[in-house]
């Protein structure tokens, strides 16, 4: 029984954490009840934690992995008592379904560090920068850690999902990637809470890019009261990374106690779409919408089984008639 892993997982034992993560990634619907038991047991546990979820997104090549690994290093040094998890998502092959998850090589974290847990995830066939299971896994890690970093596949037109997952989203860009205008077109500029301009060791390009970005932002988000912070850093030389980390941790402290409940509604609808497509979404609507279904079923896990049953029954009824 998976609940047996809970004490060990809260103590930081990696095998236990990993097995639980696998349970939350498990795509079989009948595992929902098991997940529910784990969540309930965790919520009743005196040692339960409540992590802030920090989204790190950006174009491929912007240096997300290296930057994330540097941020984690600084976090370990600045606040050694914090428990940190990293979830890094890489794309799956559409031909074979398999994926190459190479972030571990880019992210050389100190080996044997019991307070850092790293997990790779394949995007599967999902569009949106996250895997269909990222939210599920975050529900778990939220309760086991103090900060959870989620590094998305990349960012493109559909990849704004991370907004619905993270407490705060950092968009990593590189100078003169030509991204400013593209992002503006794609509406990406509406995603981040803060922007990190990486590779700023090339001073001149960095300054030009910084200005272009400022201009693009004022166009994209004219109604923001405060302008979005833009951090100029270099993961390679370490420039300003410590400062950025302090900022992230400070924000994370404020976000720590936030609940994932509101986000569950969104991700429940996402799950319905992943599993059942448009038919599913229409059915969800006819049952009164995601929030109503979740309320009726009791919680997020129960809602999956509940919806699964209901929609199968509806399909059976319609084919029988």
């Amino acid at each position: 029984m998976s609940v047996e892993w809970i004490d060990a997982a809260l103590r930081g034992e990696k095998r236990a954490i990993a097995r639980l993560v696998s349970l939350f990634e498990d795509r079989r619907v009948d595992r929902a009840s098991e997940r529910r038991r784990v969540i309930e047991a965790l919520d009743a546990h005196p040692e339960v934690r409540a992590a802030a979820i920090v989204g790190i997104t950006g174009t491929p090549g912007a240096g997300k992995s290296t930057l994330t690994s540097e941020i984690v290093r600084h976090t370990r040094r600045l606040e050694p008592e914090l428990r940190v998890a990293v979830v890094a998502i890489d794309p799956s092959s559409h031909v074979s379904g398999g994926a190459l998850l190479g972030d571990r090589t880019r992210m050389r974290l100190p080996p044997g560090d019991v307070n850092v847990y790293f997990r790779s995830q394949a995007s599967d066939t999902a569009l949106g920068g996250l895997s269909p299971h990222t939210f599920q896994v975050c529900r778990l890690l939220h309760r086991l850690f103090d900060v959870v970093f989620v590094e998305t596949v990349g960012i493109g037109q559909n990849e704004i999902d991370v907004r619905h997952l993270a407490d705060r989203v950092y968009l990593v860009m590189q100078p003169l990637g030509g991204d400013e205008v593209q992002f503006l077109k794609a509406g990406i500029m509406e995603v981040p809470d803060e922007i990190v301009l990486n590779k700023c060791d090339e001073a001149e390009a960095a300054l030009r890019s910084y200005r272009a970005l400022k201009a693009a932002l004022s166009l994209a988000r004219p109604f923001d009261g405060d302008s979005i912070p833009i951090h100029r850093v270099s993961a390679r030389t370490g420039m300003n990374v410590e400062l950025l980390t302090e900022r992230i941790l400070e924000r994370a402290r404020l976000d720590r106690q936030s609940s994932l409940h509101a986000r569950e509604v969104h991700h429940f609808a996402r799950w319905v779409e992943d599993e059942w497509g448009r038919v599913g979404l229409r059915a969800l609507e006819s049952f009164g919408g995601a929030e109503a279904v979740m309320r009726e079923a009791g919680d997020f896990d129960a809602a999956q089984a509940f919806f699964d049953r209901k929609v199968r029954a509806a399909i059976a009824a319609s084919t029988a008639s």
Binding site: R15, V21, G98, R104, T105
Partner: protein, 675 residues
């Protein structure tokens, strides 16, 4: 001129006085070194007695990667693929009774090349030998380390600076030393075609010369001399006519480049000088005795044409695909060179291919494609840009997968592997030692004891000052050679020298060649595999996950990368952990990722130690149930021991069919599925 010139026939060689003569042979070397400085010293003295004319030193991986022998990451590799060197005290033992002023010493050393040269110079100083008389080569070709071999330490810009400083220092102090040796050897091992080998090696040389020019520390005369010191280290493969043509193409292109790009007037400094290590890639584990013929043929490719003959030749041993060679195996290869040079009439003729249309046309064709590729890379911004962007790596990986595909489909014949595979068992493998060499594990104790003694007896204040001076030179751009020599004299250790520079320069993390591979695997068997993976997804609730990694310091990453790509191709989620990992790191990956199977690639001969460490690590983490599969150069005689330790499957170079390997790995996952 149809008539034979009776005075000076064109088929004969004449000396300066007009007397008939024959050429002096090339330098005979054997790449050697193992266990400990003392054991290697004995081996070198034996080899010199047998008629070897130069030394070629193989260092163990910790020395190559800048770690002391007692570093945790070094322990399983200690003395495995070469000799461990921790300090000047080890060099005194290594060269005991060997007159270094008379030797031509080649050191296969790259990331720590400056350090090993500093040790050699320091040895000369302590022995009272005039350092300007030293002759030899530090391999020091960092490009191929990034691309194929993996013993880099620092990022490219700093590594290139080290090479440049060695050229600058050597020209003044050790004028007969080849500060670096542009290697195309490993490019061919990594799968390069002849045109790629030519182009990549030459842009590499261009990169170094451009850098030296840009640094502007030489007058033009000195620069010409430096061009004359650039030497190459080349591979010779089984297509020996083409290989011979490749060598002629090298000479021709190098002459063009040095003349046109660098304005070198003196033809002496435009000569293409090269040494050879005959190809080990084509050596097979199946019917290994056939390799003796392959080595002979490959040796001819680099000796037949006088105008493109090598300066020094190293031959592998017939059993290198099985394990490290024994002294007898090396002697057998040395005898081949001696027969070729002294028994045959090879050295009595001028170039026997001059005037052949066929050869001329082939050489021109090779030059043409090489020039195109050179222009392409220079257009990208040169060799450094082509490494950092991953271009060269992915080109090589593509060529390699093409080769694998051709062998798998039978398009490329490899006797004993995909044709004529039925044969009688080889009596060469039936000796007590199974025809393979085993490192005596007690020799590492001696190495560690010497290291401990060095640390105990040295003057700590002098060590500290020497390291501070080294770091200061590294920071403010001074030449680091003298500071390194002082480190050597002060008994600084290899790990301390490298760590001091790691502090200043940082460590390099490579681009992998994983993207851009084409496996040519689209058939029923792949479809069946994907269906089996699909069934596993339903059974496990997730796509099966394989952790692929390479423990230890050996950086030949091609095998691991090929497995990673093949595994994704059939539908695994592959956690590729990269190279140079400690067993603890692999265990940690497997545990954190909740892997269904772990695949590790090992070529260094440390498979038994690594199996112990991996199994112990998994046990400590409560993850003993994750199955392990091994691949690499692993002798059959070790299979039983590995299986007893808990390794589920073992793949060797004889298992060249990726689909077959995948079928077996999926079988392992199915058998252990946790459900």
């Amino acid at each position: 001129m149809s008539e034979v010139d009776r005075e000076r026939p064109r088929h004969m060689l004449f000396d300066a006085e007009g007397k008939p003569t024959r050429d002096k042979p090339w330098i005979f070397r054997t790449y050697a070194g193992h266990s400990s400085p003392r054991a290697s010293n004995e081996l070198y003295r034996q080899n010199l007695e047998k008629g070897q004319t130069g030394l070629s030193i193989a260092f163990d991986l910790p020395t190559q990667c800048g770690y002391d022998s007692d570093d945790p990451v070094a322990r399983p590799e200690l003395g495995k693929v070469g000799v461990p060197i921790n300090s000047l005290d080890d060099f005194h033992i290594l060269f005991d009774q060997i007159p270094i002023e008379k030797m031509n010493t080649s050191m296969t050393i790259n990331g720590t090349s400056m350090w090993l040269l500093a040790l050699y110079v320091a040895l000369a100083r302590e022995r009272g030998v005039d350092e300007s008389e030293l002759r030899g080569t530090t391999q020091n070709d960092i490009v191929k380390e990034y691309l194929a071999r993996g013993t880099y330490i620092f990022p490219p810009e700093h590594s290139l600076r080290i090479i440049a400083e060695m050229y600058e220092w050597c020209l003044e102090h050790v004028p007969n030393w080849n500060a670096s040796n542009i290697c195309s050897y490993h490019l061919q091992e990594a799968g390069a075609t002849p045109a790629q080998e030519l182009a990549f090696a030459l842009v590499n040389a261009i990169g170094i010369l451009d850098l030296l020019k840009e640094r502007g520390r030489f007058t033009h005369e000195q620069f010409e001399q430096v061009v004359g010191r650039v030497s190459f280290f080349v591979n010779s493969g089984i297509r020996f006519i083409e290989e011979m043509c490749k060598m002629r193409a090298f000479a021709k292109l190098w002459d063009e480049i040095t003349r046109d790009r660098y304005g070198v007037k003196n033809p002496k400094y435009r000569l293409f000088r090269y040494g050879v290590q005959v190809n080990s890639l084509g050596l097979t584990e199946n019917q290994p005795e056939n390799n003796a013929w392959r080595i002979l043929i490959e040796a001819m490719g680099v000796t037949l044409s006088r105008n493109a003959r090598c300066r020094a030749l190293q031959l592998p041993a017939w059993n290198e695909a099985l394990s490290l060679p024994r002294p007898w195996d090396q002697q057998w290869s040395l005898r081949l060179q001696q027969i070729l040079a002294y028994e045959t009439d090879l050295l009595e003729y001028p170039d026997i291919f001059d005037g052949s249309h066929v050869i001329e046309s082939k050489v021109e064709a090779l030059c043409e494609s090489a020039r195109e590729e050179i222009d392409k890379i220079l257009g990208m911004g040169g060799v450094r840009a082509a490494i950092e962007s991953g271009y060269m790596k992915s080109e090589l990986v593509r060529s390699m997968s093409e080769r694998m595909r051709a062998i798998a489909t039978g398009e490329l014949t490899v006797v004993g592997v995909n044709r004529f595979t039925e044969g009688l068992p080889s009596p060469l493998l039936s000796g007590d030692d199974g025809g393979v060499f085993k490192v005596d594990s007690s020799s590492s104790e001696e190495t560690l004891a010497v290291l401990e003694k060095t640390r105990r007896e040295r003057d700590p204040a002098r060590v500290k000052a020497a390291l501070e001076a080294l770091k200061a030179a590294a920071k403010n751009g001074e030449n680091m050679m003298e500071a390194s020599i002082e480190c050597a004299l002060a008994r600084v250790t290899t790990g301390e020298w490298a760590n001091a520079l790691r502090e200043v320069f940082g460590e390099y993390r490579p681009a992998t060649g994983i993207e851009g591979q084409r496996l040519g695997l689209e058939n029923d068997r792949v479809e069946k595999l994907r269906a089996r993976i699909g069934a596993l997804v339903d059974r496990l609730g997730h796509r099966p996950r394989i952790v692929v990694g390479k423990p230890g310091l050996d950086g030949h990453s091609n095998g691991a990368e090929m497995i990673a790509v093949a595994a994704r191709h059939v539908g695994f989620d592959v956690i590729y952990s990269g190279i140079r990992l400690t067993p603890e790191q692999i265990v940690e990956s497997a545990v954190e990722e909740d892997a269904d199977v772990i695949g590790v690639s090992i070529l260094s001969g440390s498979h038994l130690e690594l199996a112990d460490q991996l199994v112990a690590g998994l046990e400590r983490a409560g993850a003993k149930d994750i199955p392990l599969v091994f691949g690499g150069i692993i002798p059959k005689s070790d299979f039983a021991a590995l299986e007893a330790k808990g390794v589920s499957r073992i793949f060797t170079p004889a298992d060249f069919e990726l689909v077959e390997i995948m079928e077996q790995i999926i079988g392992v996952v199915e058998a252990s599925a946790k459900g």
